[in-house]
Every structure is written in C-alpha cells, then in structure tokens.
C-alpha cells in the first residue's frame, strides 16, 4: 500500500466507514459497538458546542470588540458578568437557587418573544390566509381555474376548521353522563382526524425521503472510498 495515499481524507474516510458500519450494526440489535459509537458522537458534539459558543459569544462579542473598540461593549458588558454568575450558580447544586432570577429573565424574554412571533407571525397571517382563500384575484395570479380555486379554498377552510375542532378538549358537564364535548364539535373533530392523518402520511413520506437520502449519502461515501479497491478498474 502506498502510504502517500493515506491522505487525511482517506484516513478520515476510513474512519467514517468504520463508524458507519458500527452504527449500522444496530440492525442486528443493540450492542457494545453501537453504544461506543453513540457515546463518542455525543462527546464530540458537546466539545464542538462548547468551543463554538466560546468563540462566537465570548471572543467575538466581548473580547475582540473590547480590544479593538473599548467603549463599544459597555452596553453588553454587564451581561457577561451576569452570564458568569449564571454559570457559577447553576453548575453548583448548592448555589443553584441564586441563579433563578437570571433564569427567570431568560424565560421571560423567551416567552415574550414566542408570544410576539406566534401572534404576528402565525396567527394573524394564517387566519388571514384562510380568509383569503376565496380571493378570486389570486386565482388569476396563480393561473388557476376559478372553480378549482374555490374548491381548494373550501377544502382548506374545512380542513383547518375541523383540525382545530379535533384539538378542542373542552367538555361540558352533564348529569349522570360522562363529560364529553358538544356533539357538533365531536363530529367536526372526526372529520379533522382525516385531514390530520393525511398530513401525517405526507410527513411520513417526507421523513422516509430524508432518511433514504441520508442512507444514500452514506452508501455513496462508502462506495467512493472502497470502490476503487473493490471494483475492477
């Protein structure tokens, strides 16, 4: 074997091949090699996370700006000290409760961000879109048949409403009977189940498509690595 051919890519490819085989061994059941590989993967990923965070946040947002432009980081400098306090208190179980205010700050900011995005980014546009399903002008812009456009709108509207009805879990108390939602909501919910199943079927196809592509990529890599050595020239 020509050692010069042992390029980093080749070695890397060989390592990747070994790791791929080890992971695919799970087809035969759980084994030590699969566990070894999965733990190796978690360690490498955690190491990358720690380094990227250090580089991108601490160095790029604090150290480098402070060095190059000392006054530019005054506004965010307290956040770094708060971050250090958060790190120290949450790493130690005894001091954990002292980091709760900062966790509250994070949770409050995330909640507000999520609320704003849900309201302005999903609810309003999606409801507006449901109302605009019967916009005949849009049909012309889409070069669609008007009947097709109206039928499409009706189906989407019915599907949206029935799907929302399926996720309605409120019940009305009834004497001497089990608590159940109103009958008309139950009927809409059953229709919504059909739309949901169709959606899940499409999702299933998409997940398989992604997994198949990953399998193809892995097999292609193995083929590229070993092909020259296994296939006749």
């Amino acid at each position: 074997m020509n050692l010069s051919a042992l390029s980093p890519d080749f070695i890397g490819g060989f390592v990747g091949f070994i790791l791929t085989v080890l992971v695919l061994s799970y087809l035969f059941g759980d084994n030590a090699m699969f566990r070894f590989t999965s733990h190796l993967f978690i360690g490498v990923a955690a190491g990358f996370v720690a380094v990227v965070v250090f580089y991108n946040v601490i160095l790029n947002q604090l150290v480098f700006p402070t060095i190059q432009n000392p006054g530019s980081t005054n506004a965010i400098l307290p956040a770094f000290f708060l971050g250090l306090w958060l790190f120290i208190t949450k790493v130690s179980p005894r001091l954990s409760r002292f980091g709760n205010p900062l966790m509250g700050y994070l949770v409050g900011a995330a909640a507000a961000t999520a609320i704003g995005g849900a309201v302005f980014g999903t609810v309003f546009p999606q409801v507006g879109a449901s109302g605009g399903l019967f916009d005949t002008q849009a049909a012309g812009q889409e070069n669609q048949n008007l009947i097709y456009w109206l039928v499409r709108g009706v189906l989407i509207l019915i599907g949206t409403i029935t799907t929302l009805a399926f996720f309605h879990f409120g019940t009305r108390p009834r004497p001497d009977q089990l608590a159940r939602p109103p009958a008309w909501i139950e009927g809409l919910g059953k229709a919504g189940q059909i739309f949901i199943m169709i959606t899940f079927g499409v999702l299933f196809a998409g997940v398989y498509s992604a997994a198949l592509t990953a399998l193809i990529e892995r097999l292609n890599t193995l083929f590229i690595l070993l092909g020259p050595y296994l296939l006749p020239q």
Partner: protein
Amino acid sequence: MADIRCPMCGKNNPAGTEVCKYCQARIKPLVVNPLDGDGGSGQPGKSSQPNNTPDHESSLPDWLRDLRQRDDEPAPDPTEKMPEWMQDEPQVPGFSSDGDAPDWLSRIRKQEDAPEESEAESDFSAPEKDDSQDFLAAEEKPGQDLPDWLSQLGSSEPESKPEAAWDQPDEEPAPAPAEEGDQPDWLQRIRSRQKEETPPDAFLFSSEDEEPSAQAAEATEAGETPDWLSSFQTPEPAPAEKADSLPDWLNQQAGPSPFSEPVNEGEEEVPDWLSPKAESGPFSQPVSESEEGVPDWLSKFGGQEAGAAAFAAPEETDETKPAFGEEENLPDWLTRLDSSATEGPRSGSVPALILDEEDLSETPEPDKSSIETPDLSSVPDWLSQVPADEAASGAAAGDSEAGLAPAELPSWLEAMRPVESAAPLVGSPEDTSGPAEKAGPLAGLRGVLPAEPEFVNLRKPQVYSIKLQVSEAQQAHIALLDSLLETEAAAKPVQGKPALMSQQLLRLGIAVVLILAVLTALFLNQQQLPLPANPPPEVQNVSTLINSLAENAPVLVAFDYEPGLSGELDATSSAVIQHLTARNAYLTLVSTSPNGPLLAERLITHILPQQGLTVTNYTNLGFISGGPTGLLALAENPKKVLPYSLNGVMVWEGLPLSGVQSVADFAMVMVITENPETARAWIEQVQPFLQEKNTPMVMVVSAQAEPMVRPYYETSPRQISGMVAGLPGAAAYEKVTGRTGITRHYWDAYGAGILVAVVIILAGSLINFVLAGFAHPKPAEAEGTL
C-alpha cells in the same frame, strides 16, 4: 398554718378548709376517728345519705322511727380509752364513736322515767324507745336509783362477749364507742372490764360498748345481777378464746374476722345475755329479768320485732342460734333473726347493724333493686379501717356460702343494713363500678374517687404491645400482595429464543434489500430516472428570485440543520448555493445551531469543491445563541449580535456588508433547515422585519419539514417566497437551473429506495389485510389516531 393535703387529689389546701377547692372532696371527713382526736362530727356508722324519705319512714317500726328522730347526742369523747381491739376496729354504722348512747339505751333511759306498767303492754317499738330511754336515763345517772341488776353490772366481770348476743353479720364492724358519759353505767362497766382484761374482740359498740359493759359491770356490782347480765361477771377468757367467742361480725375486726368465725367455743365465753344457752340475756330472758327486777322494756324484747339491724343473727353460729332459741324469752325480732339464720347464712356474712338514730335519719331510703353506696364521709373510722381484703374475703366467704339461702330480712331492716353488708347480697351495680378502695376512710367501698392521686400510684406502666394488630382479612391481603410482589421480583426464566427473531429477520431483510437497491443504483450510475418534468411553482420562484439578485448582493444564508441530515440538505442546498455563487452573491453565513457554522464550512470547503465549485465570496459569521430571541436580536441589529466572523474578522466595515444596518438590507434571506420549528422561528421573528423592504425569504427544507412549512407559502401575501423541499425539490431545481449536482447522482438510488419502500409496505399491508380477513372477526374498534 400549714396547708392541708387533700386525701383525694393530693393538692394542698389552706388550713381550716373543709372541702378541697380543687376536687371538692371533704378534707375533714365527717366520720370521726377516735384515734385522731379531732372530735369529728361524724357519727360512727352514720350514713351521709339521708334516709328520711316518707316511704322508708313508714316501713320502720316505731321505736326505730323514734330513734331516727332523736337528736344527735354529743359525740363520745374520742379520747376515751377504748380497748385496743376496739380502737382499731371500724365503728359499726349506726353507732357513734363519740360515745352517744345507743338508741336502745337511750330509749331505755327514757322508759325508766315513764311508768313501766304502761309501757309493758305497748308495742315493743314504742315502749322500747321509752324503756330504753328510761333505762339509759337510769343508767346514765350513777347516783340514781338504778335497778339492782344494772347496778350489779359494775361489780361483775365485764362480760367480754356481750357482743355474742348480738349476732351480727361477719364483716360488719362494731361502731365506735360512745362517750362514757353518755352511756349507761352498765354498759360502761362492761366495757371497762373488757378493756382491763383482754384484747377486746369485735364488739358491737366500740367505745360505746365499753361503757355498756362497764355499766353492766357496775350494775352487777351495784345490785342483783340479772341472769342476762350475769355473763358480764364471768371472767373473761383469754383473748384468743374471747376472739373465738365473739360474734362473727366482731371477730372480723381483728385479723381473722371475728364475724366470719363461728362462735365455736365458749358458750361459757359468750355473754350470757348473748349466748344461746344463757338463761338470761338482755333480750332473751326478759321475763326472768323482770322477775328479777328487769325493766319491762327488756322483757318485751322477746315478743317484739326488733331493730335487729344492730343485732343480726350470725350466719353460722350455732351457739348464737340458741342464744335466741328460747323463743318464749327472746324478743320477736331476735327470734326472727334466728329463724333467718337457720334458713341459711347470708352471703357475705355481713352483720346488719342498728344504726343510730341520727344514722337512721340520714340513711337513704333503701333501693329494693340495689343498695346505694353509703355516705363515705360518714363511715366510722373503725369501719374504714377494716382492710379491704377482709371485706373481700368476707364477700368471698359469703359467696362461698352461696349454697345457703340468705335470710329474709324485713325491708326496713334491710335498708338499715350497712352497704358493706348488703352490697354483696344484692349485687348492686356499684359493686362492679370499679375496684374497691384499699386505703383511707373509704376502704372497702367501690366506685369512690381515689384517695390518692393517680400519679401517686407509682406502678409499672402497662405494657402495650407494639406489634401491629393484623386481622385475618388483612393477612390474606398481605399474603396476596406478597405473592404478587414475589412474582415481580422473581427472575422469570428466560426462554431460549432463537438468535434471530422473525421481527429481526424482517428488519434485516428490509435493510438488505434496500441497501442492495441503493448500492446497485449507485454502482450502475446510469441516471435512468429523469428529473421531474414540471417543477413546482415554489421551486421556480426561488430560481426566479436568485436570478433577480444583483451582483455581489449580500444574501443571508442560515445553515440551521443537523449533521445527520447533511446528506439530504447538502444535496438540496448545493443546487441553490451553486446558483447563488453563479450570481456572485455575497453569502453571509449564520446559524442558530452550534453545528451550523461547521456545516456551512463543510459545504463550502468540502462538498462544493467535489462538484468543481469553489466559493470564495462568503463570510461565516458563526453561531447565534438564544434561538428565537437571538433571531429577534439579529433582525433588529445584526452587527451587534455578530460583530465578527468566525475567524475573528470584522466584516461589517467593508463591502458589501457595510451598507447592511438591519436584516432587511440583505438582498435575500435563505434558510436551510430540516426542523419545522426552526423554519417557523425564522418566519415569525425575521420575516416581519423583511416586509418593510420586501426582502424575500426562501426556504430550503428537508422533505420531512415541507408539510409544515408550506402553509407559510400558501399565505397572501406570502410569508416565504419560495421553497425547495427535499431531494425531489433539489432535482426540480436542478431541472430548472439546468445544472447537475449531487442530486442527479443520488436520483436513481433515490428512486430505487422509494420503489423498494413502496413495494414492501404495499405487500405487507396486503398480506395483513388478507390475514385479517381470515382471522377471527373482532368487534368494531373505536377509531383513533395513530
């Protein structure tokens, strides 16, 4: 003054307090113990419970009724000397320890005053009272003209057994002796003789008895001694003999209850007037005595029903029976007592005592059904000193004699019987109301408050079992639970299973088929499958938008996918990146995932060069932490969030990013992600900022995220301008752009994989349908979600 300690609760009370202020018990008992010398006002044998109800009064004989109505005579001097045997004995109820003359003596005294002839014909009770009063009145005055027989009593030996004539139930103690000054002389003489000679036996009259005995002795000394009093003159036998000769109720007072012992010996020891063979006795031979000058009242004793409460026939005393055997000489009441004794001994052998007048008046009306608990405060000291065990033994002895029929006493006599004598017979509820008091003035009584505080009774605490009391039903449940737990904990025998199960075989077969199909397609690389002929509109829009980009336009590209889906998204995004590179767009790479910058570097430096594409017009700004919050910060001020590139280069100062102040200043925003949530976050947080400048946002998503991202495309106005989804989308994009890339290489293998999956799933479902059709029909299942 020193505080007085309450005998009941044990708490200190101020001196002079009669009633305890804590428990309301009498500190100073009503019963006067002659030994204490406190001059108690209590009458021996006196019951605190008044017994003066009309019904009870009507049933009493007249003489007894008179006795009850008589005023309390001064209590005898408690310091008066009594024989020792009298001092320790509880006083017989009905007889005062203070020396009050017995009722019958009082009556004798009175009757002495009255003409004897007029009283001789009268009822026994009335003349008895008068006679007794007369008699006593005569006796109380030593200087008076006493009958000779009484005066002879003083010279004779005090008969040690006048009590023998008084057949009392065993456990009934003798009352406290009355004061000497109040007792007839003959009685006093009797008592004095007894004190001098022997340890006194239980004598009906305690100190009081001494005086009658002394008086009797004096009487005999003074004059002709009646036969019935002649017994007083006989020398007193030895104490032991005397003890044996005492009636049972007197014998109970000292050690072996004298009352329980039959008077076996000593007919000669029994006072003549008490002995059954005695020719004379105070009640047995009234005629002879009358012949001798005995007062008429004494002669009437034999024919009268007597207040035999004080002189009840002993149970098993044969000698005592003959004491009343001469019926013609015995008073009727004594005769009846004798008959009742012959009928059978009463259980308990409790002597029935004649209560004093005051006692009778205070005793409550007897309850036929039960005997009331006597007034504990009025129990004479000699009575309270009787050990409880003696009382119990007396009761036991009485119980042992259950074979003997109890004597039938008249109701009025029964009522006057002390509670101790009657309680065992009647079996009152109070008998079982609690343990008998063992100490103090209330010894022998039941249902009383403890004299001592409970905490004084230092005794070993009761041992309680700490073992859990488990019933049988609970034990059965426990056994069942144990058996269930044992089955859970017990290692189930591992059945030998084959190396490969059917499920594993199926899975292996599917993997083998799929891998073979893909490898074959990759190996053949014939690219037989054509690319999609009609690209979807969302894909065409992306192409259109990129085509409309200006030269060196900054394009924000977000690599927000995981390395696991790098195979699909590298193939999908490479087509778009190639198009962007071809348009010489300035790629600004960001990511909200820590792996994103690395994936971006991998695509740019590793994947695209393999396709012959070199990308240099880009900058990798790195990682944005915080998720949606970071996106919001990026949208508001990207320079603040990412001031430097991943390499530490300040890229915002030079072109083309120098003109970018907000995210809307980018020519286009492209998000590459496999997660619908990440796509939604970009749309919700960043897209609103793009609207001000109509900056398009396009999505390069995985096939698994397409259904959840499409609704954002189907809005009006569209939130995302274009979308390339999965390998089919990439193939369509390559179809649109006319470029070949990784997708083309994967397309045949992808088709093979899809075909294998469809075939296997379809075949398996058909087989399951057929098998389900041949299987046992099941009830209709409720429809549910997957």
